[in-house]
Symmetry: C2
Subunit: 470 residues, 2 copies
Amino acid sequence: MRGKTMGDALDMVRNEDGIAAVLGVLEQQFGEACHTGQAVRAQHGHTTTWIPTQAPDAVIFAKSTEEVAAIVKICATHKVPVIAYGTGTSLEGHVNAPVGGVCIDMSEMNKILAVHDQDLDCVVQPGVTREQLNLHLRDQGLFFPIDPGANASLGGMASTRASGTNAVRYGTMKDNVLALEVVLPSGEVIRTASRAKKSSAGYDLTRLMIGAEGTLGIITEITLKLQGIPEAMSSARCSFASVDAACQAVMATIQYGIPVARIELLDAMSVKAANAYSKLDLPETPLLLLEFHGSESGVAEQAEVFGAIAEDAGGTGFVWTTKPEDRTKLWQARHDMYWASLQLRPGAKGVSTDVCVPISRLAECVAAASEKAAELGLLAPVVGHVGDGNFHTLPLIDMENAEEVAKAEGFVSWLNDLAISMGGTCTGEHGIGQGKKPYLRKELGGAVDVMAAVKAAIDPDGIMNPGKIL
Amino acid sequence: MRGKTMGDALDMVRNEDGIAAVLGVLEQQFGEACHTGQAVRAQHGHTTTWIPTQAPDAVIFAKSTEEVAAIVKICATHKVPVIAYGTGTSLEGHVNAPVGGVCIDMSEMNKILAVHDQDLDCVVQPGVTREQLNLHLRDQGLFFPIDPGANASLGGMASTRASGTNAVRYGTMKDNVLALEVVLPSGEVIRTASRAKKSSAGYDLTRLMIGAEGTLGIITEITLKLQGIPEAMSSARCSFASVDAACQAVMATIQYGIPVARIELLDAMSVKAANAYSKLDLPETPLLLLEFHGSESGVAEQAEVFGAIAEDAGGTGFVWTTKPEDRTKLWQARHDMYWASLQLRPGAKGVSTDVCVPISRLAECVAAASEKAAELGLLAPVVGHVGDGNFHTLPLIDMENAEEVAKAEGFVSWLNDLAISMGGTCTGEHGIGQGKKPYLRKELGGAVDVMAAVKAAIDPDGIMNPGKIL
């Protein structure tokens, strides 16, 4: 049971001989498609985050499952790390190569292989992005609901168990994948499940691979559930005097059972950032943004019931609309919040937090986070997928200032501990990667040993994305 | 990677010395609470199924997680099997003890530990049954939606990844469990997750344990998602000239996006059985039974839209009602179908099938199954959770007639192969147990080796519910 914790930074060393041997074979087999230039390598360790880049030794843009399997087999022979790369939008150093190895860039495996409109599912390669898929589906009246903001690849989204603004209604990647094709660390290829909507056929390997961050295998094909585009969609917004009042409205909305498609919180600092970046003139107090999906009469009913709830919580300026241009403008501003927040302090890096707590503790947790940030002198706007109890603070840090960096690290650690003490998690949707490794055992204790045992069983040489999660 | 398939019937032998040693320790430690009498033992291998009973050597009614851990530790020391028992309503021999061992009956661990009404979740012991939970929740306006028909224990439902009539709207057990406490094969106790609504914190051990049928550990506490009782519920029924026409209506309903809470098919033979057993006078042609949850206006709208779809598919006798007594009568008849079907041939045993296929293949699959049964001279009524593409046939067999038994086995095998060839599964909700082991590799190929590797990593001595799944 007590598997050795894989990829612990202390016992990780570069396998120089193995890497040299693998590069030799790959260059022979893939020629110019095996990139070893500094620029391409650096780009593939780089992500939209504060975590420093650790570049791989080579990058190959895979074209097929067979190519992925061939690369993995070569790496397995020489016990060299393999790291899958989607679009590089992860936030916890997931694609870094702390001891080098081969990066497999999946972006050219971007075919939509089948859309089964009668079954409301589709089969895609992992490099397909969510926007690409939704563009393809639109004419058929279908859509894929998971929306983490960034135009991420579906393989990456599955690997980090991504979710985002629509999760309150449609769930996360774990709820929207029917089956996977996976290249195992041995180079063998498996299918985790059939295309049936539900199954009790043995261990749920689909869910085991979702959120495994590429540490158990590389996803090479994904069967996704789809949704019919709703007959009607409406958006609403409402301002509140305090984060607490906004959270009370959220809690009442969820308890009432309004099937909101999205319910997002922006604190006053985030609204200010959005006004400046997206040229809006929203009142600079805490704001809820909502979206409703349903029939024409259904979305009207939902908006009205929410309006009454918001009023009870002291909300002001409640407006709702079904006009596509108004809806798009607001949601684009929400999606641009990361970039808008960075503009609050040009040149700073954002250190994103990602706690998720039971909704009854949400108001208290958000308030405590903002107070703590202020106490530390950190500029830390808050946005949240509050229907799920998940919110992000983004302390804006001058990475050259050691004292500030230490303060930010202390803040992140304090907030993760607080969320865990409230029965929550240190990561609602970003994953563990490198950045959250210290918190996993605090949160889950001995369960981490079970994860390590599973890792050792499936990847005994620890070649798959080493140094992540465990 | 190539773990030995655990619990293969050929290499399983009784560990006589270990069992004797364990019985000695347990009798000393638990006194009269350690039952070794023939009647109690036989009862704990028995289930509502055709699979012959294989009794354990002893049965202990556990009172706490600590007791479960203590029993498992004793069994681990002597490498003796441990089998968890809920209510014995499984259908694939899940609680059998093919090489003996100790059965832990969880029925006295039946406390509802906490209901967090603001968070829409609760924490229960595994022996709590779904009816017990719903009775407890009713006054708070909450309910737990998963309904497999039988009044099963929630631990058993989690272990077999159960679902049933409400899954089309609310998902299966995999979608409705937030976290588990599990006693591992070593006797260690872990928690798989926090109470947060969503999480990306490492491997999804919650989903790994759900559907593991007690082969990776014993569930001792469950955190469940709850739903608010809808403002309104309505039921509807509609008769069709053929199964094909009924399935066309189902497919259109799902594609249209009507959020049906239940959509169940009974074929003509099942309707006949229900009329006789439940004293109804339904037209003896294929029937759809539906339930709608929502606001008053929402359920009316849903029923009306379904009515129009049913009419397009040639449906007749469409009626809908919100009267509780009418709703209850119909759904009680649906829940009693297993017993009603057995009355079609008194003295016969039912051999339930459980295939689940993409909904576009459902009509074809059901029709082929009925034709094949008729061709073989088998009486095999059909019921189905058709919104998910899941249906059950129940060949009624004289178990003393070897030729009939062989025909039934041939039929089950043929139907499982057909479902797999259609992109479906041999088990939508009953699990693998002993009965479906031959089909798992046909369905999932090399993925079964990954399951075996995970099993060997977590339960190296193979003591947890041996001879099931793998």
